[in-house]
Symmetry: C2
Subunit: 154 residues, 2 copies
């Protein structure tokens, strides 16, 4: 499998700018959410739950693209803050289903606004077409890495 010299020139900067942009983006949102005593990671959990409640932890972890063990701590925090509830699953006594509390609802509305405003601010000036292409590239990479990473263990 030969690789073009041209490819090499572009691949390294791509990987680097992706890592940097991603780290800075998270930091940016963490700063924005600090007043609300929340982080970007916890916000993602709430957001995903607001789109799809009553899922199990495994399922939610998969949707978020993180490990179940990572999710456990995030849920501990959110449960402690009274924003979510774990309830025993009706069909599987090992599993728990996740639910937003009434306290969470107004918070989620606020966070969605902050989140959308930040995104627009960050992405301002980037053409829709470029953004579509970048999204296609990134989600393609994620899909490919899912295969590659899982192909190693099982």
């Amino acid at each position: 499998m030969k690789t073009d010299p041209d490819d090499i020139e572009i691949q390294e900067p791509f990987a680097r700018s992706m890592a940097t942009a991603s780290r800075m983006w998270r930091r940016h949102l963490d700063l924005r959410f600090r007043d609300l005593d929340l982080s970007q990671a916890r916000w993602n959990v709430l957001f995903e739950l607001s789109r799809n409640e009553e899922v199990t932890q495994i399922e939610l972890a998969h949707r978020l693209g993180i490990e179940a063990a990572t999710l456990v701590r995030l849920l501990d925090g959110l449960e402690g803050a009274g924003l979510i509830e774990r309830r025993p699953s009706a069909t599987d006594r090992r599993a728990k289903t996740l639910h937003l509390t009434e306290v969470a609802s107004p918070l989620i509305v606020r966070m969605k606004k902050i989140s959308a405003t930040s995104r627009a601010e960050i992405l301002e000036g980037i053409s829709l077409e470029d953004l579509r292409i970048a999204t296609k590239v990134l989600s393609g990479i994620a899909a490919r890495l899912e295969v590659l990473n899982n192909g190693q263990n099982g």
Copy 2:
């Protein structure tokens, strides 16, 4: 500053796929580097040093886009492994300059190969043009976030 409804539809998936792709990419490289007792973060330090030795920690941190405090721990590990050296700066007694050891050289060659192979494997099938656009988008975002994040404190 009004935002198009169209924009909103695409901005959220973009942010999500960037975060996911970035996390999975790091994990992938960490797995690849595990045999060498190194991580992606440490590899980045070595790689940047191999392009530009004799820099100070502050300067290196800036090139890597990470905080100086973060770099300190990475350098501790690399120094402990005998891969780098901190030497007092000749011109500023506060500062230290960084240098690769002879032990590091062959390792860096191997890591460059692993790194390039992985990148090619992950990015295979993505057109050069799309990759260029994605890189442009991502580095633009990083630059914008640099301004936005620093505009907050100083």
